[in-house]
Symmetry: D2
Subunit: 350 residues, 4 copies
C-alpha cells in the first residue's frame, strides 16, 4: 500500500467531495423527502440538467457508479439477444468484470484508435454484418457505445460523433456515450462542442459525478424522453436504485448550480496542462491527451525515483525497461501538489 | 405527491443522515485515500465491525443498497443452477424487481408466518426435495434467506435462527440473513441475542445502513472469512463497487463509533413503542411488531382523516372498508412528531 | 432400476417413434436438404400445420424438447425484466430446473385448480399489480403461461381459455400455451374446441411431438406471424437450433400427414379410458383426468403388489399409507398391455 | 435458395444419417426404455466410448448440438463470473449468437493462427492477467476453449495441445475441446494422436455426431469422471435434456459399434483429399487444411461458373474480385459427386 499522505496523482477518485457538495448535504440534511428518485433535489437537479442540455423532454436517472450505469443502460436499451459495439480498449470490454455479459449481452469489438472508434470501421462492420449470409447465427449489433473522453484521455471531435450517430440512425440502433469523465472532455481545449450539442447527437449518455467532484453518482440522460419502457424497474433489477435518492440528487443539484460541474472540470484540465508542461520541460514524453488523465513514458528507474516523491499509477509496460504511467488531476489538485511534482521532476533530471 | 413538510411516518429513508455521520464526512473530506474498498475508513469500519461481531476473521464489503446486497450475496454464494429458499413475503421475492432471477437464481418459497420462516417447514421442504425421484429436474435449494427483522416488523428468537442454521448445516447450504433493518431487530425488546451471536449463527449477513441512519450503505459480513472466491470481482460485476468507497466507509466508521448504530436503532424503537401506545390508547388495533415498523388497522374513513395530519403508508387492503397502514420511526423521529400524532389520534377519536 | 421389459405405464416417452415416422426417415434419408430449419420437410410440415391450424400467416419453428421450447418462447416474447404468470404446479415452475430463470425471468405464481389457472384470479392479480403503489419495485407480469392439457391431465374448456385470453388482451400481454401433450388434450372427450380454435385464442403455443409419437420435437407456432423479431437468433442463442433440422421436420411432416398426430392421440386416450374403467371396476379411486395421464390412489400395499406386474410412477404421497400413482398411455400401448393390467388388478383385489 | 438436388459440397449436415444409424433406430424402436439419459442405448454407448477413450471413469452426456454443448459445458465448468479464453475465430465467439454470454460468461479472445491458439500467447495472456494490478476489475480467465479440428480445417499437433493443457494445469483452469468435427480431425493425415490420447490431455471434450454421420447428437465426455456437480440439472436448465434420450443414445451406440464413427470420418477425409487434388490440378489455390473442410480461392467469375455445376459455400471475400469458398465432404460424398466436380473444374479451366 502506498503512503496516502503523499502528494497523489493516482486518480480523480481518491479525494472527498467538492466542498460545495458537502455544504449542500449539510443544508438539506434536516429536510424530509420522497425516496427512490422522487426527492426534491433529484427533481431540481433534473430541471437544471434539462436546462444545461437544452433537452426539455429528457428523462434523467441518478445511479451510483459508471459500471452500474453502463450495464443498466446497455441492458435497458437492447433486446436480450443484442450485443453492443465498442472499441477493444473500452471500459465495458476491459475493466468491468463482465458486468455487461452478466446480463447476457456480448461486447462486439472494433479496433481502438487512441481509445476512439473510427466511424468508417463502424460502418464497414455493420454493413458486413448485415451482408453476411450467416448473420442470423451471429450476435446482432444492437447498440454503439463510445466513451467521452476515452479511457486514454483523448476526445472525439464533433464531426466524428456526428458520423457515428448518423451511422447508428442508418441502422436504427442507439448511440450511447459513457461520460464517466464527461466534464473533463467538455473542458478539453480540443473539444469543439458543448453539453447541449452532445445531448442532441446521441440517444443516451451519462454525466459522471464520481470522478468529477462528487462522492458518487452518475446522471443518466435520455435526451428526448426516450428512456426504455419501465426503466425504473430495470434500475431496481440491476440493484441500482437508491432508497435515499437524495444522496445522488443533492450532489447533482449542487454540481449543476452556478456551473460547479464545469468549474471543477476546468480546474482539473488547467492542472493537467500545467502537468504536461512540467513533464515536457523535464524532457519526458507524454501520450496525446487533452484531458485530466496524462500518460507519461518513464524509464523504470525514473518511475522508481519519482514514486518516492509523488503517487501515480503504472498503466502498462512499454518495454522491458520503460513503463507508461498515468497522472490524474481533479478538483482537489492544488498548486502545492504541482510544486511538489515540479521539484520531483527537477530532482529526477538533475 | 404528499406534502413532504408534514409530519411523516412514511419510512425510515425519507430523512438525511444522522448528524454524526455528516460530521465524519466533513472531518475526513480533505484527506486522500485509496479507492475501491481500500480506503482507511472502510478499513477502520471493518475493524470496528469485526470487534462488534466478535468475528476477527470476518470478510467485510460495503455495498450501497439492500436489493444490490441481496442479489450480490445470493449470486456469489450459490452455483449458477441453485435457487434460494425464502418465505413468500420476503423482500427478494416481492419487491426487488426480479434482481435475484436476473442472475439466474430461482426464489423457492415457503409459507410466511408473520414474515418468518418455520424451521420445521424448511426441514420438510429440504427432506422432500432430496427424497423426490425427480429432484434432478427441480431447482436445487442451495441457500436459505431470512430477513431480520422481517418485512412485517417481527423478530426471530435465537432458538428459531439456531434451528434454521442447524438445518442448513445438515444440508450443507449457507444461511444468509438480510439485515436491511438489522439494528431495529437487535434493539427490539423481543430479541434475545446480540450482533455477535447473530454473526456466529449464520454464514452471511449484512448490517443495513440506509435505513438505520446512513445516507446509503450496507455492510456485508462473511463472519468466518468465508467470502466467496473473488467476491471483489463479483461485486464489480454486479455494478456494486464504489470507486470512492469512502462514501460507505466513512458512514460505517461513524456508525460503529461509540455505538452510534445501536443508539440510532434504540431511539427509533423507543419512538415506535410510544407510537404503539398512542394507537392502542386510541382504541386501534396494531399487528404484532416489536420493531420500528408498525402496522395499524384503520377504517378507510380514519385513514383519510389521519392522512390530513400525518404522512404514513397504506400497506394493503384488509376488506372493502379497512386498510392496513404502516407507520415507521427512525433516528429523525422527534417528540414533536409524536405530539402531532397524539393530537391527530385524539381528533380522530373525539 | 426397473425391469424395462415389463409392461409399462410409466410415461409416454419410454417407447420409440411411431412406425410411420421411422418410415418417413427411411424414405427421405438419401435426399439432400438445406439446414437450420430451411429443409424441405420442415417447410412441408409448416404448410401442413398452417393448414391444420387455419393460420396461413403462422410462423413455425421446430425445437427439440418442452423445457427448451418454454424457455425460448418465454424469453423471446418478454422484455428482460418481465416475468411470466403461471399456476404453482406448472411445469416451468417445478420441473424445468430453473430454465426460465436462467434467462432472467421470474415465474409469478397463481393457485392451481387441478392444474388449471382461474381467469378471475388472473384478473385480480393483474389488477392488483397495476393498482399497487409499489408496482415499479415488483416484477412486471409480461406474459401468461398455461399448459394444455395440464400436468395433472385436466383440460380447459374453450370459455376458460377465452376468458384468460381476453384478460391478456386487456393488459396487452401475450398468452402462451404449453402443448407438450397437446394432442391428448384435443382428443379428450371433455375438450370442446379443436386445434384451429386454439391457434386463434392465444399468441403462441407449441404442438408437442416428443410425448405424442415422435422421437423428439416440438412445433412452436406464432399463429399470426407474430414471432419475436429475430427469433431464429434467439433459438440459436438458446442452443436450440438444429443443424440437420430435418430431424424435426421429417417427424412433423409425418405427424401432420393423414392426421397421424390426431390418430396417435386418440389411440392413447382410448387406452386411458379403458384403464380408468379397469381401475374403477377394481374399486380404486382415480383423480379427475380425461387425458392420457391417469392418477390413481393406491394403498402402499397395493402399490407394492401392483408394481410386481406393471411399471408405473409414484406421483406423490397422499398420507402415510397411501400414494398417488401415475399411469400413462401412448401410441405404443397395446391391448396386451391392457390385459396384463386387467389381470394384475384382478389379482390385487382377489 | 439453391437447387438442392445438385451435387453439393455445402456442408456435412445437409444429408441424412448414415444407413447403419437408421438401421439401429429400426431394430430398437419397439423396445421400451428408461428416459432422460438412462436408456439402455445411452448406457451402451457410454461403455463403448469409455472403451474407445480408455477412460473407464468418464462421465458422458448426450446433447443435441454443438452450440448447446458449448454453452452447457462452459457454463457448467466455470463460476458465474469467469470467462472463457478462445481464439477470435472460434465458433463460440462468432457463430453462436451469444449463447455463451447468454449465461453470463465473457469470451476472452486471443489471436487466431489458422484457427489455432498459440500456447505461448495463452501463457503470456494468463501471466499478464494475474500480474495486472487491476486484475480484480477484469473478467477472470476461468477456462480455455479450443476446437479440434478448427473452424478453418486445421489440426493441432499433440505437442501443441500438450502445451496448452500444461498451461491450464499451471493456472488450475480446465481445458475444453470442441469436437463438433472431432472424427475428421482424428482422421487427418496430419494428426499425430488418437481419441484416447485426446481424452487424457484435456478436462472436457465432445465427440460431434451431427456433422459426422448422425442426425443429431454430441457426446460430452468428462474423461476422469470430472463432470460438474449436478450436471444433469445444468443440462436440463439449458433446455438440453432429451426425454427420449434414445434419440441420441441409439445413434452413438451405432457410431461406436465396429468403428463406424472412424470409418465415416475416414471416408470424408479421403474424399476431401481427392477434392484437394482436383482443385490443385485445376491450378487453383487451397488454404492449408487436412480435414473435410476445404477452402479454395476463386475469382468471382470462377465462383459464378462453378456454382452452375455444384453447390458450395462462399466463406469470405478475399478482395474485390476474389472469394474464399468452402467445399465440405461427408459420409454421403460419393465417387459420382467427385466426378461431377472433376468435370466442372475441367470445364472451368478449359
Amino acid at each position: 500500500m502506498n503512503d496516502i499522505t503523499m502528494t497523489s496523482f493516482e486518480s480523480d477518485y481518491n479525494n472527498g467531495a467538492h466542498p460545495d457538495i458537502l455544504r449542500h448535504f449539510l443544508e438539506t440534511n434536516n429536510l424530509q423527502s420522497q425516496s427512490y428518485g422522487y426527492d426534491q433535489w433529484s427533481e431540481s437537479a433534473r430541471a437544471k440538467i434539462r436546462e444545461a442540455t437544452q433537452s426539455p423532454e429528457a428523462s434523467i436517472f441518478f445511479l451510483t457508479g459508471g459500471t452500474q450505469a453502463n450495464a443498466t443502460i446497455i441492458d435497458g436499451m437492447t433486446a436480450s439477444y443484442e450485443g453492443v459495439v465498442s472499441v477493444a480498449t473500452a471500459h465495458i470490454n476491459v475493466h468491468e468484470s463482465g458486468a455487461v455479459e452478466a446480463f447476457g449481452h456480448k461486447v462486439l469489438t472494433l479496433p481502438s484508435h487512441d481509445g476512439k472508434m473510427d466511424a468508417d470501421e463502424l460502418h464497414d462492420y455493420l454493413k458486413a454484418y448485415h451482408a453476411d449470409p450467416t448473420w442470423e447465427h451471429m450476435v446482432y449489433p444492437g447498440m454503439v457505445y463510445i466513451t467521452f473522453p476515452t479511457e486514454l484521455g483523448t476526445v472525439y471531435k464533433a464531426h466524428e460523433i456526428e458520423s457515428i450517430h448518423t451511422i447508428c440512425q442508418e441502422y436504427n440502433i442507439p448511440l450511447f456515450i459513457d461520460g464517466a469523465r464527461l466534464g473533463y472532455g467538455l473542458a478539453s481545449a480540443e473539444c469543439d462542442f458543448n453539453l447541449s450539442w452532445l445531448a442532441h447527437h446521441c440517444d443516451a449518455f451519462y454525466i459522471g459525478g464520481t470522478k468529477v467532484g462528487a462522492l458518487c453518482g452518475e446522471a443518466v440522460v435520455f435526451p428526448r424522453g426516450n428512456a426504455p419502457r419501465q426503466f425504473f424497474t430495470i434500475v431496481k433489477r440491476h440493484g441500482a436504485l437508491l432508497a435515499k435518492s437524495r444522496v445522488a440528487g443533492v450532489q447533482f443539484d449542487a454540481l449543476f448550480t452556478d456551473g460547479l460541474y464545469f468549474r471543477i472540470a476546468q480546474h482539473a484540465i488547467d492542472k493537467a496542462m500545467q502537468l504536461r508542461k512540467l513533464f515536457t520541460e523535464a524532457g519526458l514524453t507524454l501520450r496525446n491527451s487533452s484531458t485530466n488523465q496524462q500518460f507519461v513514458e518513464l524509464s523504470n528507474t525514473q518511475m522508481e525515483t519519482l514514486s518516492q516523491s509523488v503517487l501515480f499509477e503504472t498503466w502498462e509496460p512499454i518495454d522491458d525497461s520503460h513503463t507508461l504511467c498515468r497522472f490524474v488531476t481533479s478538483w482537489a489538485t492544488t498548486d502545492e501538489n504541482m510544486n511538489t511534482l515540479s521539484q520531483a521532476l527537477k530532482d529526477l533530471t538533475a
